[in-house]
Amino acid sequence: MAKYRGAVIVDAERCKGCNLCVVACPAGVLTLAREVNGKGYHYSEMARPEECIGCANCGLVCPDAVITVYRMNTKQ
């Protein structure tokens, strides 16, 4: 099991679906949802949450600061 487990919470209503976080994710965790938010954007969401390592690349590249990244050390 990976030493670090991560999770990403996207504020779906503020997300504009630019896709930058999906491209920046090294573990292929994120994808754009089939559903749209109130503004009609396909918001970003975790498609494969078990792969997330909490590297925070998605949070860094997000232009709208809608991503909160969590990381937990599983070896503790």
């Binding site: 991560g6 504009k16 679906g17 930058l20 954007y41 997000c62 232009p63 600061a65 909160t68 969590y70």
Partner: protein, 255 residues
Amino acid sequence: MTAEITEITREEHIVYRKTPALTGNVMHYCPGCSHGVIHKLVAEVIEEAGIRDKTIGVSPVGCSVLAYNYIDIDWAEAAHGRAPAVATGISRLHPEKYVFTYQGDGDLASIGTAEVMHACNRGENIVIIFVNNAIYGMTGGQMAPTTLVGQVTSTTPRGRDVKLNGFPMKITELLAQLDGTTYVTRQAVHTPPAIRKAKNALRKAFENTKKDKGTSFVEIVGTCSSGWKMTPVEANRWMVENMFPKYPLGDIKDI
């Protein structure tokens, strides 16, 4: 949400979140706009340095004219291109404050060339943040002085022609020649490593203000996916392939 995700998403496990220096307002920028990332970096640098109540920003005319809605500090709004002149006044009246301007290429490199040249030449103790996306974004994607040769814009539908429109202006290199500037650099925000480097450059620029070293000039090469008629991901790729050969990244001057 599964129990495991609930376990991970506890307050003490947060490694990245929106900085408190950003207001909660939804930015008006198009999806994937570089302005959002740059606003975030400026807000993070100000928050981490603990200088929110000592910083005054001067916003330009252009897409970032509404920057005061998003970064929770004191702001002034300048006439088109005149942000360095307004910042000069603020900084001379309040020498203890951190004063910065935030300008696009239409604002700084075109109508505001005189102001930025002379503010840098006087060595005013301010930070100038210059966002270069090679186009006038707000008004509909017209040619800017920084538009690349051959680049299609709404006023150069057959591409920028050197005989008709001249050459792209490398304003950052010009400003590095002036004795008043202490730190002149060019950065980008297209990948996580580039974003970290850009943040370090901004931090250094604000530290120079504290040391009263003169003008720090940070150019950030950005994208305008709406003006370039591309998706944000394509725009980043286009920027790497076309903008970086003309506008190479890195420190140009650091004294």
